[in-house]
Amino acid sequence: MRAALPGVMALAGPACTARDNDASFSVLTDDDAIEFAAIADRILPTTDTPGAREAGVIHFIDQAFAGLMQDLYAQSVSDLATFQAGVGEAFPGKTRFSELNDAQQDRYLEAQDASSFFQLLHRMTIYGFFGMQSYGGNRDQVGWQLLGFEPRHAWQAPFGHYDDPALQGEPGGD
């Protein structure tokens, strides 16, 4: 059985320590981590709000490949090698995705965003950005803050604009 409170879980794991200290990885090599992180950074880029980089998504990816999704790790490393080989073909003189500028990276990803490799990284980026912090990502809850989501365990009406009688100028609700 599992602990029920996310706050408690968030304090528990070594995953969180790694994320918060930008410490080294459990399974990823430093080189692969740079590439996986570069892909995640284009899926949820840093704009005027934090992106995958600030959320520490790469630490989620590392922890997931070490546990939850370990059965996908070997294939993903192999797929990454294929992915990198394609970089050189598309952009002569380049050997790594992380060497490309933002526009080049987007162009390269657009050509293969239906691939199972991209789909997996897409899924992992979202889990790492929006998932509970105990999984290693969502540093400082930046993912939840982006959406306006608050991880509370109890709410009271009014919940939103349209069910708030004070904002409607007339009695509402029950």
Binding site: M1, I126, L147, W155, F159, D163
Partner: protein, 564 residues
């Protein structure tokens, strides 16, 4: 808050236990919406009961808001596709494919799917029970009347209201009720206000949604705290009226009921005397065991009950136990669904509170003027916008890429501003929609996997599209800034598993009689979604629970008269 009522017991490890070799009065397979009620009713009436539940015994404190574990890794459903092995095909000319999603979706946990369900709780109406007589036949289907009426079931609907716990208020089209709702509707959300506004503008009659969620304390249970994690999640405060919260504790407190969790039944034990003598199951260590019982009650849901009967075939019943009619597994009905989504100017914050607070039942009855059979109901809810991951994975607008800066901006803008208007409809009973044993695939216990063969009747799809057209009108009238619809097409899975062991008076065209007793085997009973003759308009759990109270009463009466 002051609770002026007694404390109710909670589910516990400290319970009666029975010997496998000493026949109990009843072995019940499944602890969900039906099994939990039947177990409570029979054990508190003094009968010795063992409940076999294939999932673990989770309690309120074991539930969480963890989207990755619960929503993506299907913690409550027994795990990913490798665990269940279910397969799906549209018709029997196709090879069934192993599904990546549980195509027959149900929880594996004590309390069954009443633990993870959304808790919409619609009663059937008088018309549902005699629709075939009123409307006439639909060719190519097994559309027929129920052997019971609304009047016969109504007292049990009221028992569900009060003993399980239902919040709500009467609506303009509801059938009669003998008692009022025990607790008032949940506080209306922005989705409810917008549905109400839009529906009224186009001349419809929205009403508060009846929900199996407590708005006030009832029977010693605490009310909902509006945490937002109803759909697909277990309730951390026990306010959702699952059998885990409302019935299992009472069954255990009777001293006559043992809940045996992590035990997967694979065969009903039969004898040469045309009676059943117990159930064979895998215990938590994977060992084969036999629990002896004077009678067996299957409450495992429309998919699992069917599989168990088919796996229990013997010389007397080569096509599956209790299946002389050939109707075991046939007439599977999912209810149809359609979705329209809208984004509004101001935040709705749909991640707070229950999923549904208002519904529209103006189109409940079939109308020959539409040109097809069918009826349904409309609600408004967050759906994907209840959780950050579910929204990011599937909540984005259809015309946006699902990665990059624009996508991120869309998520940030829409998450608090989006709602979904959902249509739920009838499904017609047909031979071609059914559950059989997969010849190849197996589940994690090695049992043959559940194979679903299903394609919605054209009328079912027409009704879903009809409700979607109304949903788009409602969204427009409510002032949505943008609105779009998901294409309606044949479904490839369902959480409502109805009709596969239907009740009826004629043993040639039904599996159980009107009291849920097998036509073929006198001490075998079946009560769950499989008993339903027609699908209703969605939200079948209220009816499954009412049937369970009624079945238990008749089973207990027969047992007292030594007539089982």
């Amino acid at each position: 808050m002051t609770l002026h009522c007694r404390e109710s017991p909670v589910a516990t490890d400290d319970q009666t236990s029975f010997d496998n070799d000493e026949a109990v009065d009843f072995a019940i397979v499944g602890s969900g919406s039906a099994g939990g009620i039947v177990a409570k009713e029979l054990s508190t009436a003094g009968f010795k009961v063992v409940v076999l539940e294939q999932g673990p015994f989770r309690r309120a404190q074991d539930f969480s808001h963890d989207e990755i574990a619960v929503s993506r890794y299907r913690e409550l459903l027994g795990g990913t596709q490798e665990a269940h092995g279910q397969t799906f095909r549209g018709d029997d000319s196709e090879r069934a494919v192993r599904a990546t999603w549980p195509v027959a979706e149900y929880a594996q946990t004590v309390g069954g799917s009443s633990v993870h369900f959304t808790a919409n709780f619609w009663r059937l109406r008088e018309i549902d029970f005699r629709e075939r007589s009123v409307l006439g036949p639909v060719s190519g289907t097994n559309f027929t009347d129920w052997p019971i009426s609304y009047e016969e079931l109504e007292p049990y609907y009221s028992r569900v209201d009060w003993e399980i716990g239902v919040s709500g208020a009467p609506g303009p089209f509801d059938s009669f009720r003998s008692r009022p709702f025990p607790v008032p509707p949940m506080p209306v959300k922005s989705s409810g206000v917008l549905l109400e506004t839009g529906a009224q503008k186009i001349g419809l009659h929205p009403q508060p949604a009846p929900l199996a969620i407590l708005s006030k304390p009832l029977n010693g249970r605490a009310p909902c705290v509006n945490c937002g994690y109803c759909m697909g999640y277990g309730c951390e405060v026990g306010a959702k009226s699952s059998t885990l919260a409302a019935m299992i504790p009472l069954a255990q407190a009777s001293g006559n009921c043992e809940i045996r969790a992590d035990c997967a039944v694979f065969k009903v034990d039969t004898g040469a005397d045309n009676r059943v003598h117990g159930v064979h199951y895998y215990d938590p260590a994977g060992r084969e065991r036999l629990q002896k019982a004077s009678a067996v009650i299957l409450c495992a849901n429309g998919a699992e009950t069917t599989r168990l009967l088919l796996m229990s075939a013997n010389n007397a019943y080569p096509d599956g136990l209790a299946n002389s009619s050939g109707f075991v597994g046939r007439n599977l009905m999912f209810n149809g669904h359609s979705m329209a989504h809208g984004v509004f100017e101001h935040p709705l914050n749909e991640f707070k509170g229950v999923q549904v607070t208002r519904i529209v039942h103006d189109f409940y009855e079939s109308d020959p003027a539409r040109g097809f059979y069918g009826g349904g109901g409309i609600d408004a809810r967050p759906l994907d916008a209840m959780g950050p991951i579910s929204f990011a994975m599937s909540g984005h607008r259809p015309d946006t890429k699902d990665w990059g800066a624009e996508y991120k901006e869309m998520l940030a803008h829409d998450f608090t501003r989006r709602l979904t208007v959902l249509g739920s409809t009838t499904s017609l009973a047909m031979d071609s929609n059914n559950i059989t044993l997969d010849p190849v695939s197996t589940d994690r216990w090695g049992r043959p996997a559940i194979r679903l063969t299903y394609r919605d009747h054209p009328d079912d799809l027409s009704m879903a599209r009809f409700l979607q057209d109304r949903a788009m009108e409602i969204l427009d009238a409510a002032g949505a800034e943008i609105a779009w619809r998901d294409p309606v097409h044949a479904q490839n899975g369902g959480a409502h598993l109805l009709g596969t062991c239907r009740m009826g008076d004629d043993p040639a065209t039904s599996v159980v009689d009107k009291y849920h007793r097998s036509h073929d085997i006198p001490n075998l009973f079946i009560c769950d979604g499989s008993s339903m003759v027609t699908s209703g308009r969605g939200q079948p759990t209220m009816t499954i629970m009412a049937m369970a109270f009624r079945a238990a009463e008749h089973i207990a009466a027969a047992a007292h008269k030594n007539a089982i």
